[in-house]
Symmetry: C2
Subunit: 213 residues, 2 copies
């Protein structure tokens, strides 16, 4: 049985977490658990959504797979020594260390991405680089036992990849069919390479204010 642990913090982006959780919590014979610094409900970025942690950093079991989602709350967690210590200790024994979106910046802040190829939200590549990683503009990047996914919705793709790793391709395909993941976006603007150039520039300018740099 594999234990997959999702580490949440206030103002995580709900879809960063729910995408892979919806996939991985459906794996028969394995368990997906939610872990946070305290046992208080953790509010998502968007108001009414909250998640009740099943474990705290103090009592969580060892993980086979560590997954850190992103979200605007990531910024406030940078330099959180309690979180850093938890991530470092957990990463020592976890088979896979993974993130979605700006969750990668928290892995980096804990010193887990030094010299690694990794990805994050496209607006956070520079922030990732400042933490010692080599940013790669791909949907999912694997370097050794570290697997990082791009922004927000990339967590669904990561979830299916992890499901196959943990329980085999047939099970991953069954879950994909169960959640009818046959995406048909009405527009083709989901990456900076595909979206209108002017839109990309406006969002880059806004993001500099957020991530610094």
């Amino acid at each position: 049985m594999s234990t997959i642990g999702f580490v949440l913090y206030p103002r995580f982006t709900a879809l960063d977490f729910i995408g892979p959780y919806e996939v991985l919590s459906r794996l028969p014979g394995h368990r997906a658990i939610v872990i946070a610094e305290s046992s208080d409900p953790v509010p998502a970025e968007q108001g009414p959504v909250a998640v009740v942690p099943e474990f705290t950093f103090g009592n969580a079991p060892a993980l086979d797979v560590l997954l850190v989602p992103g979200g605007p709350g990531q910024l406030a967690e940078m330099g959180n020594e309690t979180l850093r210590a938890y991530l470092r200790t957990t990463a020592e024994s976890a088979a896979l260390i993974t993130s979605v979106c700006t969750g990668a910046l928290l892995l980096g802040d804990a010193g887990l991405l030094g010299g690694k190829r990794a990805t994050t939200h496209w607006l956070a590549y520079e922030a990732l680089e400042r933490l010692g990683a080599t940013p790669v503009a791909e949907r999912i990047v694997r370097d050794g036992n570290v697997i990082t996914a791009a922004g927000v919705s990339a967590g669904i793709d990561l979830g299916l990849l992890l499901a196959a790793e943990i329980a085999g391709e047939e099970m991953a395909k069954a879950i994909q069919l169960g959640i009818e993941y046959d995406p048909q976006p009405p527009f083709d603007a989901g990456s900076p390479a595909k979206a209108p150039a002017q839109l990309v520039e406006v969002m880059r300018a806004n993001a500099r204010a957020f991530f610094g740099g």
Copy 2:
């Protein structure tokens, strides 16, 4: 300003709701609200996720867009007269009546899909037909002011389509880029037409026990 209302009930599927909510709650100048029968936190299908309704059926404002997600809890809501009455009344004035996954069965149970072309989770086509609709095996189906989406993850595609309807294509593309929705599923098994035939058969047999028929 458009008001987009998400109607939740116990054991809704988190991704059915979070997919379109993550898109539509980012529309500047509009509001996405969560509505339920009572003001108690509504637990999702998967344990630790809960959503605190911002309105109840009794005090919710009129909606421009009604959105009903699906999930295993849908079955227990069939025949719920309070929900039926809320959906009927709301649909009278809403510009758009929409659903994700088996949320369509609740629209059907309220008598809102009679004679309409509609879609739902692929395992629920027969159940949808018994409610008077004509099931269509497409990702998103529009018939008049009723827009239904396929299973679970189809809610993200629906969300972007609604975002464009409400605020224009440029805004929808900005949100798509913000959530980096450039899907790259590691497998191509997300619909019954694409998945291995044996897997489809096993899931159909299991579903008959759930939906009846």
